[in-house]
């Protein structure tokens, strides 16, 4: 497995055509392998037999109504929670961006970015490179308290990147941001994931966000993955494309919100 190196950062992203075909990941190594994963709280099986494979470089969105267990599944992937049954295999280098930035208020931004790093002469440089990538090059010495919501979340993203993760887990990281900031964060995350090629699992309840960013969308319902589809749309994607609208309607139906009669939630 090739490692993702921050040393390569100054290189510009490889030139891309205006419209890139959907990517295939069949030849990539597995980054996530879940088999029959279960998690129960009391008598309730919130996650009840989830199978999932995610490959390197693949961007997967996990949709689901509130309380369906998206966060629970993500926490299992992160190693913050243990499954009650089944098998879960993930790479050692994992990063999480939570809904809240979760920065240590008593540490300067650059110390937060390199929170888990050994301290040495390189630490500061790693932090600055990661901050540069999220567009916060000048904020290395700021205190978290002085950042706006979007800036703090970008620091959290820089912290996740600085670990050079093979698996990047995002739990509704844009939910608390305003609409304009959210659009910019989408672009940033898309660009960074293309450059560093981690496997990504994004938990979201925003259907448009899922379609815009993902190679694959999943819908979690009743404790299992009830829908799993490739997003066969060329990038960059626009919400006005017919394919976009069709997938959107389908996903909304899966989520039981609107559209044609739903076989799962009838």
């Amino acid at each position: 497995m090739s490692s993702l190196s921050l040393a390569r950062l100054p290189d510009p992203a490889p030139p891309e055509g205006p419209s890139r075909a959907p990517r295939r990941f069949d030849d990539e190594p597995l980054a996530v392998r879940l088999q029959g994963v279960r998690r129960t709280f009391g008598a309730r099986a919130v996650i009840n037999g989830v199978d999932l494979e995610v490959r390197r470089g693949e961007f997967v969105s996990l949709l689901g109504r509130s309380g369906t267990g998206k966060t629970t599944l993500l926490r299992i992937l992160a190693g913050l929670d243990q499954a009650d049954g089944g098998e879960a295999r993930v790479p050692q280098a994992r990063s999480v961006v939570f809904q809240e930035p979760r920065l240590v208020p008593a540490k300067r931004v650059w110390r937060n970015v390199t929170l888990g790093h050994r301290r040495g002469r390189e630490t500061r440089r790693i932090a600055e490179a990661a901050l540069e990538e999220v567009g916060l090059g000048g904020h290395a010495d700021a205190w978290p308290r002085t950042l706006s919501g979007g800036e703090a979340q970008r620091v959290a993203l820089a912290r996740a990147l600085a670990k050079e993760p093979s698996l990047l887990l995002l739990d509704e990281p844009f939910a608390a941001l305003d609409a304009l900031t959210r659009i910019r964060m989408h672009d940033l995350v898309e660009q960074l994931c293309r450059r560093h090629r981690p496997a990504v699992v994004l938990v979201t309840h925003d259907v448009d966000e899922a379609i815009l960013l993902s190679d694959r969308v999943l819908v979690l319902a009743d404790g299992g993955i009830r829908f799993d589809a490739q997003v066969e749309l060329a990038r960059p994607r626009g919400q006005t494309e017919p394919g976009f609208a069709a997938l959107r309607a389908r996903l909304l139906a899966e989520l039981g919100v609107a559209g044609p009669a739903d076989p799962h939630h009838a």
Binding site: S95, R102, V104, A106, G116, W143, P144
Partner: protein, 286 residues
């Protein structure tokens, strides 16, 4: 009372208020305002001093009951002339700082232990919470039996009194750290030790320092109580001598010394807080 709907808004202009703009920094007018503020703050103390002085000068108040401000100043002159004041300050400061350092350190260790480890909490928390409710002054007779009436008893009393504020605030501060932050630390590969050092301690530091500031105040109280026992040096010694010699002016001078000591300790603690916590904004309302 019946609810009366407000009349329909008239079609005239709305009543607008002017919002103040931020004043420019350090103008001459600003200096004037500062001066005026200082003057208005100083007014009441100055008035009290004047009335006090006048009532003594006119023989209204017996100097044995309350000596005049100038008498007290003279007492200070007397105390400094033979070096007694300096020796007393040194002795009292040494006592309270020794007790505070030992008590604070003990409280810090116990607080960290109880905050970070469940065993620590199970072992110490209940007994310490119970001991905390005992007024330390009530312990003086016991301390005299245990440690005699020398220097040890005094430091032991200050030590015992200063453990609790640091313990309680350290424990609360450590326990108060958001579990989400600790979880973030775990995600980024911090082991228990580095989570404690990089996440919990820095975040709990404000609370720990508040504990030390409280303890510093308590140390002064304990010092006063301890020096009543039988002091051969320190401010308490000056007070006891003055009491025997019926020197009210020296007694008041000694009491004011305790007050000044309290103010100095508080200022020092605040400066330490400001230096140690640069990441906290100024939490001042006006």
């Amino acid at each position: 009372m019946t609810y009366a709907p407000s009349p329909a808004p008239a079609n005239g202009p709305l009543a607008l208020v002017d919002l103040p703009t931020r004043p420019k920094v350090r103008s001459a007018a600003d200096a004037f305002v500062r001066g005026r503020r200082f003057a208005s703050r100083a007014l009441a103390p100055v008035l009290i001093l004047v009335v006090w002085q006048l009532s003594s000068a006119t023989g209204w108040v017996d100097p044995l009951v309350l000596p005049s401000p100038t008498d007290i100043l003279a007492a200070y002159g007397e105390l400094t002339a033979d070096g007694e004041l300096y020796d007393a300050l040194q002795a009292s400061l040494a006592r309270s700082l020794t007790g505070l350092a030992l008590g604070g350190f003990t409280g810090l260790l116990l607080g960290l232990f109880a905050g970070l480890w469940r065993v620590g909490e199970e072992l110490f928390d209940a007994p310490l919470q119970m001991l905390r409710t005992v007024p330390f002054i009530a312990m003086i007779p016991l301390f005299i039996i245990w440690f005699g009436i020398g220097e040890n008893a005094k430091i032991a009393l200050i030590y015992a009194a200063t453990i609790f504020p640091v313990y309680l605030n350290t424990y609360a501060g450590v326990r108060g750290v958001d579990s989400k932050l600790i979880e973030a630390g775990r995600v980024f590969d911090l082991g228990p030790t580095r989570i404690a050092l990089r996440v919990i301690l820095p975040t709990a530091l404000p609370s720990i320092l508040v504990g030390f500031r409280y303890s510093a105040g308590v140390a002064l109280l304990a010092l006063v109580a301890a020096e009543q026992i039988n002091a051969r040096s320190g401010i308490g010694y000056i007070l006891i001598n003055a009491n025997v010699n019926q020197r009210t002016d020296v007694i008041v001078a000694g009491i004011i010394l305790y007050a000044v000591l309290g103010i100095v300790i508080d200022i020092v603690m605040r400066v330490i807080e400001r230096i140690a916590l640069p990441w906290r904004g100024k939490l001042v309302l006006a």
